[in-house]
C-alpha cells in the first residue's frame, strides 16, 4: 500500500504540491523563528553577562541587597586576596574585578571653568593588565566609532550620544566629578581615548569607561572592588556549572554573619533575566501552537479541495469494495509522507537561512535606539540540534490534523448513490 501511495504522490503532483509547499513554509517559519529567538536570547545572555552580571558574581552581602543602586561604599575591601582565593578554588573561571559608579562629567572652557556637564554612569574594568580578557569580552574594539581603546592610565571612553550632545571628541580633556567610596568629593581629569557605541540606549546616553586602576585612585578604593565577576570557559554560560560554583562558594561563608562577607550570585539569579527567558519560552510555545492551528486550517482546506478533485477516485474505490476506514487510513499515510517531505524541505531551508544569519547577522540598531535591554544590535541566529525536530513535529501534526478533518467526508459518502454520481 505504501508503494501505491508513494507513486500516487510522485505521479499526481496536483495532489501533493500544495500541501508540501504549505508544510515546507510552515516548518521553515518555525525553524527560522527558533533560530532567531534562540539568537536573541543568547545575545541578551551574553551582553548581560559581559556588561553586568558575569556568569557568576561575588559582592558583599550589603552590596547585593542594594545592587541596583551600585553602592560603592559597600564594596569588597580586600578584593586582591579574594580574587586569588577564587582563582585557586575555581581555576576554570576567569575572575576579574569591576567597579560601577556614577557622577558628573564636566567639559571645561578655555578658562578651565564649566562649559557643559552631564550625569554619567561609569564602568571600570581591567583594560591594562596583561592577559586581561575584558577588552575582547566587552567588544570594545568593535564598538569604538572614533579614537582608540584605553591603552594607558588617565584615558576614558565616552558613549556616542553623550559625545554628540556635549560635542567632545578623542583627545579632549574632561573632568569626572563624583564621590569616593567614603563619600568625599573626588575629581580627576581624563583624556578621551575613544567614542563608543554600545548599541544599548541606556549606555549610549551616558556611559563612560575607565581602567580599574584609575577608578581605584579616583574613588579611594585601593585593592577594593564593587564586584568580582567570573566567566566560564570560552565565555559559554552553563547554568548547572554556575549554580554548582555558586553553591560551593556560598556554603563556605554560611557561618560568617558579617554583612560585608562575600556572597555569590549567578546570571539566572537576576530577576529580569529569568523572567525574560520564561517569557521567550512561552512565546515560542504559543507561536508553535498557533502555527499548528493555522497550518491545520490551511491543510484542511487543501484536503477538502483535494477531496473534491478526487471525488470520483474515492467513489470508484468504495464501489470496488474498499472500506471507508481503509481509504481514510491511506489518506493519512499519504499525508504523513507529504508531511515528512515538507518537513525535511522546510527544516533544510530554515537551517540554511539560520546558518547564513548566524555568520552575517541582522542589524537591528535602527529600531533598537530606544531599547534599554542589554542586547547587541546585530542579532545572529543560533544553530541547535532542536531545530531538527522543532519544525518537523508541528509540520507533521498539522497536516495529519488537516487531513483527518477533511477525510471525514469519506464517511459521509453514500454507496447507494455512487453509480448515480458516476453517471
Amino acid at each position: 500500500m505504501f508503494d501505491f501511495i508513494y507513486k500516487g504522490i510522485i505521479r499526481d503532483k496536483k495532489r501533493s504540491l500544495l500541501p508540501i509547499i504549505v508544510v515546507t513554509i510552515g516548518v521553515f517559519v518555525v525553524v527560522f523563528s527558533d533560530g532567531i529567538i534562540g539568537g536573541m536570547i543568547n545575545n541578551m545572555i551574553s551582553m548581560t553577562a559581559n556588561f553586568q552580571t558575569g556568569h557568576v558574581k561575588v559582592m558583599t552581602r550589603a552590596y547585593a541587597k542594594q545592587e541596583n543602586e551600585k553602592p560603592i561604599d559597600l564594596s569588597i575591601l580586600n578584593a586582591g586576596e579574594l580574587i586569588n582565593q577564587l582563582k585557586k578554588d575555581y581555576p576554570i573561571v576567569d575572575w576579574t574585578p569591576r567597579i560601577m559608579f556614577g557622577g558628573l562629567l564636566d567639559i571645561p572652557d578655555q578658562k578651565g571653568e564649566t562649559k557643559a556637564q552631564g550625569p554619567v554612569s561609569g564602568i571600570s574594568v581591567d583594560f591594562l593588565t596583561t592577559g586581561s580578557n575584558e577588552l575582547k569580552r566587552l567588544g570594545i574594539k568593535k564598538a569604538i566609532i572614533d579614537g582608540t581603546p584605553i591603552n594607558r592610565p588617565g584615558q576614558i571612553l565616552v558613549s556616542v550620544d553623550f559625545a554628540e550632545k556635549y560635542n567632545v571628541k578623542p583627545g579632549d580633556i574632561v573632568t569626572f566629578f563624583g564621590s569616593t567610596m567614603y563619600g568625599s568629593m573626588t575629581f580627576s581629569n581624563f583624556t578621551i581615548a575613544g567614542i563608543v557605541r554600545f548599541g544599548n540606549s541606556m549606555l549610549d546616553r551616558g556611559a563612560i569607561m575607565i581602567d580599574i586602576s584609575d577608578a581605584r585612585l579616583l574613588l579611594d578604593m585601593d585593592n577594593a572592588a564593587a564586584e568580582i565577576v567570573g566567566f566560564l570557559p570560552e565565555g559559554k554560560y552553563n547554568n548547572e556549572k554556575a549554580e554548582e560554583i555558586k553553591k560551593s562558594f556560598n556554603d563556605k561563608w554560611t557561618n560568617n554573619k558579617d554583612e560585608y562577607a562575600p556572597i555569590m550570585t549567578q546570571l539566572m539569579d537576576q530577576e529580569m533575566m529569568s523572567a525574560t527567558l520564561g517569557y521567550a519560552k512561552r512565546m515560542s510555545l504559543i507561536m508553535i501552537v498557533l502555527l499548528i492551528i493555522a497550518l491545520a486550517i490551511v491543510l484542511w482546506n487543501a484536503g477538502i479541495l483535494g477531496g473534491i478533485r478526487r471525488y470520483n477516485e474515492f467513489g470508484i474505490r468504495l464501489a470496488m469494495g474498499e472500506e471507508k476506514k481503509h481509504i481514510f487510513n491511506s489518506l493519512m499515510i499519504e499525508s504523513l509522507i507529504i508531511g515528512i517531505i515538507g518537513s525535511i524541505l522546510g527544516t533544510t531551508l530554515g537551517f540554511m537561512a539560520c546558518l547564513i544569519l548566524s555568520r552575517h547577522g541582522i542589524d537591528y540598531s535602527a529600531v533598537m535606539r530606544n531599547v534599554s535591554l542589554m542586547m547587541d544590535p546585530v542579532i545572529r541566529t543560533t544553530i541547535t540540534p532542536r531545530m531538527l525536530y522543532s519544525g518537523t513535529i508541528p509540520g507533521i501534526i498539522s497536516i495529519l490534523v488537516g487531513t483527518a478533518l477533511a477525510g471525514q467526508a469519506i464517511y459521509k459518502r453514500n454507496t447507494a448513490m455512487l453509480f448515480k454520481e458516476l453517471d
Binding site: 561604599d73 558628573l104 571653568e113 564649566t114 550625569p119 573632568t175 580627576s188
Partner: protein
C-alpha cells in the same frame, strides 16, 4: 421656631459664637507670636558676616571621617568654604554666589559648577546636602511659624514651633523646632518633605556666649533616609560681623 424659643439652646449657640470669635482672634495672635519668635531666632543667629573654623565628623556606615574647614560668609548670598584636612580634601574650595555654587579642585585645577540634581547630593559623604549649605536665607524669609505648644527637651522647657514654607523654592516644606526661649536657639529641628516624610533631624548643643550672643557650637545632622550615625559639625571658632574683602567671594580667588 421651637428651637429658637428654647432658652438653654440660645445660651449654647451664643457660647459657640463667642468661642469661635475668640478662636478667630487668637489664631493670628499665635501666628504672630510664632513669627516674632522666628524673627528673634534670626536676629540671634544671623549676622552681616561670619568666619567659622569648624570640624565635621561624619559617622559613616563603615568608618568615621573628620574634615576641617574654614568658611567665610557675607550676608545670605556669598560664602566660601576651604577644606583644610584630610590631605585628600585639602585645598578644595566651595564658592556660593547667590544661587550658583562652584567647587574648585586643586588636583585637577578645575572650577566646576554644581547644579541640578547634584545640589541634593551629600557634601563630602556627610548628612548635609549642597542645598543645605547653599540656603543661608533667614528663616522668616522662607517660613511662617506657629507655636504648637511647650515641651520639655533635654531638661529644658522649649516652645515647639511649626514652620510652613511660604516660598516655592524651600528645600523643606515644613520644619518642627524645639526652641529654647532663654537663648533663642532651636535645640532640635525636624525637616519634612511636602509628602510629610521626615527627611532630616538636627540637634544643637554646646551653647556658648560669643560676641554678646548665644550660639550652638555643635550641631548634629542626621539624614533620616541614609544609613550611618549622622554628622557632627563642631565650631572651633566663630567671628561675627568682621569685614571680609570682596575678592574672597570671586571665582578667581578659588585658585589662590
Amino acid at each position: 421656631m421651637q428651637l429658637m424659643n428654647d432658652e438653654p439652646m440660645k445660651k449654647q449657640i451664643i457660647k459657640i459664637i463667642i468661642c469661635n470669635m475668640a478662636l478667630m482672634v487668637s489664631i493670628p495672635l499665635i501666628a504672630q507670636d510664632g513669627n516674632k519668635m522666628l524673627q528673634d531666632i534670626d536676629d540671634n543667629l544671623s549676622a552681616n558676616s561670619r568666619i567659622i573654623e569648624s570640624t565635621m565628623i561624619i559617622h559613616g556606615k563603615r568608618n568615621d571621617r573628620t574634615i576641617t574647614s574654614k568658611s567665610y560668609t557675607m550676608g545670605t548670598d556669598k560664602s566660601l568654604t576651604e577644606y583644610m584636612s584630610p590631605p585628600r580634601e585639602k585645598g578644595t574650595k566651595m564658592l556660593k554666589l547667590s544661587n550658583e555654587m562652584w567647587v574648585y579642585s586643586p588636583t585637577t585645577d578645575r572650577t566646576i559648577m554644581i547644579s541640578g540634581h547634584m545640589l541634593r547630593q551629600s557634601v563630602m559623604g556627610s548628612d548635609l546636602s549642597y542645598e543645605d549649605m547653599m540656603d543661608d536665607r533667614k528663616l522668616t524669609v522662607i517660613y511662617n511659624a506657629n507655636i504648637e505648644g511647650t515641651e520639655n527637651y533635654n531638661g529644658k522647657d522649649c516652645k515647639v514651633l511649626i514652620l510652613i514654607s511660604k516660598v516655592k523654592d524651600a528645600a523643606y516644606q515644613k520644619q518642627k523646632m524645639w526652641v529654647d526661649t532663654n537663648y533663642l536657639i532651636p535645640l532640635k529641628i525636624e525637616l519634612y518633605a511636602k509628602s510629610g516624610q521626615l527627611l532630616k533631624m538636627i540637634t544643637m548643643s554646646d551653647i556658648k556666649q560669643t560676641e554678646g550672643r548665644w550660639f550652638p557650637m555643635k550641631m548634629t545632622y542626621k539624614d533620616m533616609l541614609a544609613e550611618g550615625d549622622g554628622t557632627e559639625w563642631v565650631i572651633n571658632s566663630i567671628t561675627f560681623n568682621k569685614q571680609i574683602p570682596d575678592y574672597i567671594f570671586s571665582k578667581a580667588s578659588l585658585k589662590k
